[in-house]
């Protein structure tokens, strides 16, 4: 009898709960990996549900443009390329807003082997340098320009996903994210002692990446949901930092064939990028107007953006600011 009553109660309670949850989707910029561990952990622990959101995480991939999917309204949230791809989306007048920045500094570096005698940027001249032509090439152009090196003097080629050509010596310099490719290169070439790294920040350039974007109409109609999404995500990331093993498992559960050691190495680097720059004082996902403006001006100077954008309309810190700063500090 008790059992039947429990069942009855459960059957009544479930639909009621389901009704109060808003179904939303988050589109990632790449395949599942610990770069996104905080989001997966937040789902696993029900943080989005606690905010009234039934969140599904959809992985990205090579053919996926997060801003386009979010702009179409098919999905509400996106963790997209970066300030570069977001500026481009706003220039095309896609109805997307940036509600947070994940990686507060340029998340990639250019890597050369010490043995190749490339000791400074000037040594790039005449060398085979690869960069992803999705934005990293512009950072390279900017770095070269800051030293008065012409692009033509360097043999710049588009970089494919694999860093094997660099490891095998087919190219001299390649781009590598701190959290992913650099770990592969370190593992295969025997650590930093054999490498020389060139970071954009050392040349006065900073391009924050992994932007959190939301569909403009959705945000207008559901500001509480956007706040809730951020609150749950921050909670997930704070826990990912405190409990990296649990964060790792939440990702491995989704993609069990991933290389565990590589994923373990990825997480702290991703978190370091999230806590860098303005996040140190303004908390996770901080939208620092000065940093954004400098990145914006860089792309205007590079003639990637045809005209300056209305940054105040595109970057919306009000959702983040609704969460007390103490809760946002990692």
């Amino acid at each position: 009898m008790i059992q039947r009553r429990t069942l009855l109660a459960a059957s009544l309670a479930t639909p009621a709960l389901a009704q109060t949850l808003t179904r939303v989707q988050l589109r990632l910029k790449w395949l599942p990996q610990t770069q996104f561990a905080g989001f997966y952990l937040a789902v696993e622990r029900g943080h989005y549900r606690a905010e009234g959101l039934d969140l599904t995480i959809n992985p990205g991939g090579p053919n996926i443009q997060g801003e386009t999917i979010v702009a179409s309204g098919a999905e509400q949230f996106g963790l997209t390329g970066g300030t570069d791809s977001f500026f481009a989306a706003r220039e095309r007048q896609l109805p997307v807003l940036c509600i947070g920045i994940t990686h507060q500094i340029t998340p990639f570096v250019f890597v050369a082997k010490r043995a190749s005698n490339i000791n400074n940027l000037e040594d790039f001249r005449g060398k085979r340098v690869t960069a992803w032509f999705t934005g990293a090439h512009l950072v390279l152009y900017g770095m070269l320009a800051s030293r008065g090196i012409t692009r033509e003097s360097v043999n710049i080629q588009p970089q494919q996903v694999s860093v094997t050509p660099f490891i095998n010596g087919e190219t001299d310099v390649c781009a590598a994210t701190w959290y992913n490719e650099l770990n592969i290169i370190r593992a295969r070439l025997g650590g930093d002692a054999n490498l020389r790294l060139f970071a954009a920040e050392d040349f006065g350039i900073s391009i924050p990446r992994d932007t959190l974007v939301v569909n403009q109409a959705f945000a207008g109609a559901n500001p509480r949901a956007v706040e809730g999404f951020l609150r749950a995500s921050i909670k997930g990331w704070r826990e990912a930092k405190a409990e990296p093993a649990a964060a790792l498992e939440s990702v491995m559960k989704i993609a069990p064939t991933l290389d565990r050691a590589h994923q373990i190495a990825m997480l702290p680097e991703a978190i370091r990028l999230m806590q860098a720059g303005p996040a140190a004082t303004q908390g996770l996902f901080a939208l620092d107007a000065g940093v954004i403006l400098r990145a914006h001006d860089f792309f205007v100077e590079q003639r990637v953006l045809q005209a300056p954008l209305d940054l105040a309309a595109a970057f919306r810190p009000e959702f983040l600011n609704a969460i007390p700063l103490a809760e946002r500090m990692a």
């Binding site: 395949l31 098919a74 991933l258």
Partner: protein, 244 residues
Amino acid sequence: MLRAALPILLLFALWEAAVIGLAIDPFYLPSIRVVAAAMQAQAPFYLDAYLVTLSEAALGFAMGGLVGVGSALLFTRLPVVKDMVLPIFIVSQTVPVIAFGAIVVLWFGNTLMAKAAIAFYLTFFPVTINTLAGIAAVDPRQVALLRSFGARQGAIMRKLLLPSALPRIFTALRLSASLALAGAIVGEWFGATRGVGAMLLAAMFNEQIVSLWASILVAAAVGGTLFAAVALAERAMVFWREEL
């Protein structure tokens, strides 16, 4: 069964012998034993991928087969419709599947239907064309004979045209089985969380060579299952084939 299994086992033996004998770098070709062990270690995951992709491909394949045969019958019955619609079918096939995939995923989202739609897109056309060709190849004197017995159009279709076209329809279905698999895999390249395509993509981009080969084997298993299903259906339905 043994006739099918033997060449596969032989291929695996050859693979293993080559890896050991030629000391091939595992980055280029890992040992089949290592691949099998990886699959065994994550058996539920690989089985899930197999079932997900199989259901996507099978659904798209079934839709493609039905629409293909259906439209060929319609075109035979109403040549005006054929003249109007067939050019659209042909133009539709010139859209690269990867571009079509992006649109389908925007329409259907991350669903089984999205992948089935791409599998359908790749399969319906060969079936349409081959059914049409099969019907066209029927001897007009046979049609005239049936008509002289007073057979109506529907009866001629059921009793003569469709059975005569069956061998060609099945040839098209055999081809479509592998196309449906390709369609489902391409569909999974647009942000799917499960399936052989998602596995292949992750393995490729993470340079996990063992799981890449494991994914290829699972893809082959899906293709083999579809192909076997078509062959069985053919054996049951085109029982007179030997006579042809």
